[in-house]
Amino acid sequence: MNAKTRARTAKSLLPGQGTLYLMALPGILFFFIFSYLPMFGVILAFKNYNFAGGIFGSPWAGFDNFEFFFTSPDLYRITFNTLFLNFLFIVFGTLAAVVTAVLLNEIRSKVSARIFQTFIFFPYFISWIVVSLFLGTFLSSERGIINQLLSAIGLDRVEFMNSPGLWPAILVVVYLWKSTGYGLVIYLAAITGINPEYYEAARIDGASRFQQIIRILLPQLRPTVLILLILAVGRIFYGDFGMIYALVGDNGQLYPTTDVIDTYVFRSLRTYGDIGMTSAVGLYQSLMGFLMVVLANWISKKLSDEKKGVLY
């Protein structure tokens, strides 16, 4: 086959599509380098890594890296914290977003509703680092706002920075403060999308506003809630590093309730430089995370009776 006929064959296979592939190429390469190449790197979990040997030249270690992690109490602690905190975020986050969306929808003045939404959505745009400074002004032991208020009314100060038991609640409050606006926007869009004829019919039947919310609005919101819940469950093995590390940082006293898989992995890699063990924890997280995604997608398929789940 000479070059000309080969070119013609290629052209008949993909009529004018060469350009499309050429356009997609940088994006495809990006995912190959930054997502697919690291996937091959999971073999590090089975290696005794040394810098000179690199990923491929280092000697094999069998399951030693896993043995170390699976026999340490850390496994239970960080898995529990990750799942428990995410569970709290999902439950309270969904409740807060749905309730504020329903209530905001009841505010008839468009201008007021817009102003309220603008305020509530604002924290979503602030970085976790800045949030940690905000939190510090409230919680610091000597000069924090809460402790100044407590001592002003004659109560004992609370040492937030060494009271790990309080932190799941603190993290939930901060999470709600920062993320409710995000959920609110999504649910409000779903509420506005409801066909007004449903309300019309209900009004003719004499349904009160409250009954309309219970019988029409909430059931109509169900699919959106389910989609977001399922997506969140698929990510339940991934802690929010940006949040936890910004707010807790290297405060070891808070680790019992706040250390999640992601902060643990970061610390093992950067502070202790334990490549093998850290890779083993990372692989454990990726596999569990993958299982959760498959499970979540399977559930969504069952619930919707469709051939396609939420994700694939």
Partner: protein, 292 residues
């Protein structure tokens, strides 16, 4: 509407307004506290920790910040990364999203699956870290703050949905007139998708501006430290800035005030443009949540 005038409805309505006023204020208060503190004299800040309304109004914290080379350098790094990052990410993402929005593309579903898999499974932090430091040699470069975020799969899918809303006839008529895929993308699709591109561009700009994950992992040189990482260092160590300053120049660096002022400058741009850009975010989130 008779029901809206009932007593119980009016009571509910007032409580509802009160509820949202309280929540709305709660969402702004931390910001206002730091804003007030940034204008407070250092001595008062040291004692009280914060000031919603400054007792002794001063611009000294801001004057100091603008004279601190390390802080100005960090802002320069963040602005550079955000501008170059957003433009490059927008380019690469739309170049990938457009072909995937064209139904006649032959291996379309294969490539879509290829992108989707990256959302489902990851190799974890360690291989990614070693790849970037040991094999790509990107540690302590400006590129490491940009390149790893060039394509966000979620943004890619949102943009693809935007492109799919453009009527096929418009693109097809251009193709019949002899324009190639790239020409019709550049001259027809891009101008028609400015709202979509603005939305995704803002998502990227916010991600780059607020990011500290990349700098935390890969930046050691002070010259390349973005403002979020600098703030992180200031917050965990109040003397971080004073330790970097030529002491002959300042009698005393107002550490608390500098921290507050730097924070305000770092969210200032967002605060100012936020009311105008909010609608784009709302649009992006709405499409993203429906299309997933």
């Amino acid at each position: 509407m008779v029901e809206h005038k009932s007593v119980s409805y009016r009571l509910f309505n007032s409580i509802n307004y009160l509820f949202f006023s309280v929540i709305g204020i709660a969402c702004l208060v931390p910001f206002l506290i730091v804003l007030g503190s940034s204008f407070e004299a250092e001595q008062n800040l040291k004692e009280a920790g914060f000031a919603l309304i400054p007792k002794q109004f001063t611009l000294y914290s801001y004057e100091t910040v603008f004279q601190l080379n390390s802080v100005m350098q960090s802002f320069l790094v963040s602005v550079t990364v955000t501008v170059i990052g957003t433009l490059s990410a927008l380019l690469v993402t739309s170049l990938l999203a457009y072909p995937l929005s064209q139904r006649e593309m032959k291996f379309r579903s294969l490539i879509l699956g290829y992108v989707l898999i990256t959302m489902l499974f990851s190799g974890g932090l360690v291989p990614w870290y070693i790849l970037i430091t040991k094999y790509l040699h990107l540690k302590d470069t400006l590129w490491v703050l940009i390149v790893p975020y060039l394509v966000n799969p979620f943004n890619m899918f949102v943009l693809k949905s935007f492109f799919e809303t453009i009527p096929r006839e418009i693109v097809e008529s251009a193709r019949i007139d002899g324009a190639g895929h790239f020409r019709s993308f550049l001259n027809i699709v891009i101008p028609l998708s400015t709202p979509g591109l603005a939305t995704i561009g803002l998502f990227y700009a916010l991600a780059y501006w607020n990011d500290w994950w990349l700098s935390l992992n890969f930046i050691e040189s002070d010259k390349l430290m973005p403002v979020q990482l600098l703030l992180k260092k200031m917050i965990s160590n109040l003397t971080y800035i004073s330790s970097q300053v030529d002491t002959s120049k300042f009698i005393q660096v107002p550490a608390n005030g500098v921290q507050m002022a730097t924070t305000i400058i770092s969210i200032g741009p967002i605060f100012l443009v936020y009311p105008y850009i909010q609608k784009y975010f709302v649009k992006g989130l709405t499409i993203g949540s429906v299309k997933g």
